[in-house]
């Protein structure tokens, strides 16, 4: 499964112990952090801890990228539809197929839940490690992982 972490929560989710770190570092399964283009730069500038984690995940094959030009094109297409100032995050979700987003940005959450922007499947928002931990189960997303079983 793929997860996108917005830069505004990177310090909370990627630089402190918690469900996201546990999920990303588990041996089994196929966890992927999706970060490319502008978001990757923003995350890399979120501090040494996040930057080092990104490097390790990249070396492990757990940091998923996307073609910067494709993100730019998608970003331009989505710009007029977005309420938030993060069309690059939404473009990354559309291109990669990642449907779980960690953020606490209200406008971005509204955009991510907007069926006209993110659909098939709809997006899920990850805000609270305690209440939303189930979102990090190994579900089928962006072509990686296994289908959810109950």
């Amino acid at each position: 499964m793929c997860l996108i972490v917005d830069a505004n929560v990177a310090a909370r989710f990627l630089a402190q112990p918690g469900a996201v770190i546990d999920w990303l570092s588990r041996e089994r399964g196929n966890p992927r952090l999706v970060a490319a283009g502008k978001l990757r730069k923003e995350l890399a500038n979120s501090g040494d801890t996040v930057r080092r984690l990104l490097v390790r995940l990249e070396q492990m094959g757990r940091l998923r990228s996307a073609e910067p030009e494709r993100i730019r094109q998608e970003e331009q297409r989505l710009r007029a539809m977005c309420a938030s100032n993060d069309p690059h995050v939404l473009a990354l979700a559309v291109i990669s197929g990642a449907r779980t987003l960690a953020t606490d940005d209200g406008d971005l959450i509204r955009d991510f839940k907007n069926k006209a922007i993110i659909d098939c499947p709809r997006g899920s928002i990850y805000r609270d490690p305690e209440a939303h931990g189930h979102l990090l189960r190994h579900t089928f997303s962006c072509g990686i992982g296994t289908r959810r079983t109950r």
């Binding site: 630089a15 770190i21 570092s25 080092r52 984690l53 390790r56 094959g61 990228s65």
Partner: protein, 428 residues
């Protein structure tokens, strides 16, 4: 062109393995996971493809696999030691896959070939020997024919098939003594011969293997022979010969490439020969220019003398078909120089040149991945082989890169140690 090495029952590889060989093949994994064995098998594969099925180099510097009991896998318990082991090379040019496989069993404690089989599409030729008696099986769709044959057929007889179409059948009859109905028509014989030629071309020549530790530097060298050695003891004399040569083209070309690597890696500015007399038989020293001054090779960082044999030999021998087998080229190098080695190898890729590199350097591997992202290399130029140790022996995982140089298919547990260590260090 897809080139693969497949083997089974060899040392820690009890189970069948299938590894992709590309212009740059990186071998990564923990100690004792079979990386050096794989390098040795690459060299043996070249020998087999060139006809030496009977006596490939199981034991030659710098790879010593031992006698049969050391080479054949030992599983323990009732399984004991493998009764035979096999090595195959497979080449697919998109038109028709072909492969050559050799099987060995123990004879007098040494590995001895009991069978080889060459397959090209739906045609095949197989030779077996047992107690000095040989047989030859010709395979074509829906028909298998055993041709009477006395003696042991060696694959070099097959590789000696002329490339010229139309004469192979006559050679088969004349050289191999195949008479009567072989089951294969002339076109099929020609087709087999072309496939043999394809395998032969892909594995042309003898790979150049470097030792894991290169020779110690000396303050002064006597001008003696420059016969290539895996540990690079010939390099000072080779440099001196080029330096003294009337034709300076070779020296200037080599020096230019060395200076380029030296400046990018921060290792040195220039390499020069300091003659200690006027005659060619007089001793000489290897000088390393750095920061405007020239130092003796023995007085600069050990990394210079360790890297120099790899730099010089790969530059000098980088002919179109050369295969280089390298063990930890990064030893004693600062991470900056380790990373630059990755770019150095990437720049040398071309033609049918191959580098098979056993490494523990993240910097080297990462730089090669970056060169994929920068489009100096294509993803299909790089094979990243992850050697994993398990209870049932070692396993090779073929990791693929995408256009960004990112790994697309990491196996479970890949580099888990590094992440755990990093998270522990960061306290998260």
């Amino acid at each position: 062109m897809a080139v693969r090495l497949q083997f089974e029952g060899i040392r820690c590889f009890a189970e069948p393995q299938d590894a992709v060989i590309r212009p740059i093949t990186l071998l990564v994994g923990e100690n004792s996971s079979g990386k050096t064995t794989f390098l040795a098998l690459c060299r043996i594969a070249h020998a087999i493809a060139n006809g030496s099925v009977r006596n490939p180099p199981f034991n030659a510097d710098p790879f010593w696999l031992g006698a049969y009991d050391q080479i054949a896998s030992y599983r323990g318990g009732r399984n004991g030691r493998a009764k035979s082991f096999s090595l195959a090379i497979s080449v697919d040019n998109g038109a028709r896959p072909c492969s050559l496989r050799a099987d060995y069993l123990s004879a007098g404690g040494q590995p001895s070939p009991c069978r080889w089989r060459f397959v090209a599409g739906d045609l095949g030729i197989q030779a077996t020997s047992s107690d000095g008696l040989g047989s030859l099986v010709l395979e074509r769709p829906n028909r298998t024919i055993e041709v009477p044959y006395v003696g042991i057929l060696t694959f070099d007889t097959v590789t000696s098939f002329p490339e010229r179409p139309g004469v192979v059948e006559e050679v088969a009859e004349g050289t191999l003594g195949l008479r009567g109905d072989t089951g294969l028509n002339r076109a099929e014989w020609d087709s087999l011969a072309r496939a043999v030629h394809l395998v032969h071309l892909e594995f042309l020549g003898y790979p150049y293997a470097f030792a894991p530790i290169r020779t110690n530097p000396h303050r002064t060298y006597d001008p003696i022979g420059a016969e290539p050695k895996p540990e690079g003891s010939h390099i000072p004399m080779l440099l001196a010969s080029l330096w003294r040569s009337a034709q300076q083209t070779q020296w200037n070309t080599l020096l230019s490439a060395l200076k380029d690597f030296g400046s990018k890696s921060g290792l040195f500015d220039e390499i020069e020969i300091v003659e200690k007399g006027k005659k060619e038989s007089d001793p000489f020293q290897v000088g390393v220019k750095s920061g405007g001054r020239t130092f003796n090779l023995i007085d600069v960082g050990y990394g210079v003398s360790q890297a120099l044999p790899i730099l010089v030999d790969t530059l000098r021998l980088a002919g179109a078909f050369e295969t280089f087998l390298l063990q930890q080229p990064e030893v004693h190098l600062h991470p900056r120089a380790q990373a630059e080695l990755g770019s150095f190898f990437a720049r040398l890729v071309g033609g049918k040149r191959r580098f098979v590199i056993e490494t523990h350097s993240d910097y080297l591997v990462d730089r090669i991945r970056m060169e994929v992202r920068r489009k100096l290399l294509r993803p299909e130029d790089v094979s990243l082989l992850y050697f994993e140790r398990g209870k049932a022996g070692a396993t090779i995982h073929n990791l693929e890169l995408d256009a960004n140089g990112s790994i697309t298919n990491p196996p479970p547990g890949f580099r888990q140690f590094f992440l755990k260590e990093e998270l522990d260090l960061l306290g998260i």
